[in-house]
């Protein structure tokens, strides 16, 4: 297929999106990620029954926390696709990258730079 998607994205593979915890998402932002999106299997088609549904709820939880602390909950999002949908994977990657570019960099990064200076 050899589809192109933005090279700003770093993929972290997990056995199931149900493995992704709020803590992982928050740590990513703490370390300077500008955005985090979780790509799970289609809802109703989780091999582990409800891993992707759990991930969605955790993404929502992370969103609430990020809003409360002024980082912005819109920097985190959940997507679903099947393993055969490479085209959609690339679309989501572009969609998320464009959205994050609109939002600008993670404010934590510039705050840390200011503190270091």
């Amino acid at each position: 297929m050899r589809l192109k998607y933005p090279d700003a994205i770093r993929i972290i593979r997990v056995p199931c999106t149900g493995k992704v915890d709020v803590l992982h998402i928050l740590h990513a932002f703490e370390k300077g990620a500008d955005g985090v999106y979780v790509v799970g299997c289609l809802e109703g088609e989780c091999r582990f029954e409800n891993g992707n549904l759990r991930a969605r709820r955790r993404v929502e939880q992370a969103k609430t926390i990020l809003d409360a602390i002024g980082i912005g909950g819109e920097r985190v999002k959940m997507f679903n696709l099947s393993s055969g949908e490479g085209t959609r994977f690339a679309e989501y990657a572009r969609e998320m990258t464009e959205k994050i570019q609109e939002l600008g960099p993670n404010p934590i990064k510039s705050a840390k730079q200011r503190q270091a200076a």
Partner: protein, 222 residues
Amino acid sequence: MIVAEKKPIEEVIEMVKDYHKILIAGCNECVTVCEAGGKKEVGILASALRMYFTNQGKQVQIDEVTLERQCDREYLEELRNTIDQYDAVLSLACGVGVQFLAETYFSTPVYPGVNTLFMGATEERGVWSERCQGCGQCILGQTAGICPISRCAKRLLNGPCGGSTKGKCEISKDLDCAWQLIIDRLKELGRLADYEQLAPIKDWSRERAGGPRRVVREDVRQ
């Protein structure tokens, strides 16, 4: 177990915003089971606070620890050598743990990170409900193992009241009438005749009405 829920992060920030070195202390017992103040919740809150303060341009050190229990001195002792490094401790234990920590380390400000609610059970993951109010004089033997003190809105000893409709309480259609549950279970146990026996007047002085309570057991005391 004791059931608690996380305080909103905005409220936590308001409490600790003037400190520069904060220790967030979780508890491995009840609050871990009800997912309000265990190791994971400590990590989430610490990460969120670190980001908040960094974003605000403040340099605040936030450390994490989770004790086996905060309602026992032997576990609180684990903080003895490090607690003086901190301006404040944010405890995610229940109200008991927060107070015992504050009593143990008298000169360190301690703040609660959770709202402690009740003694209850895990109905399913994410759903906890009240089962005991610690009234000090258990009557579960007479009420088929269902507590009217904690589960009846009026704490009736001889119920149900006129507000019981189709097995539900008048205060909420989602709340079972405790006395309906009692009658149903007495029937199931073949003990419906027990329902006819009037409950004697309860000694409420053994509950909170008698002031803060204490148990002293000379047989186990050291």
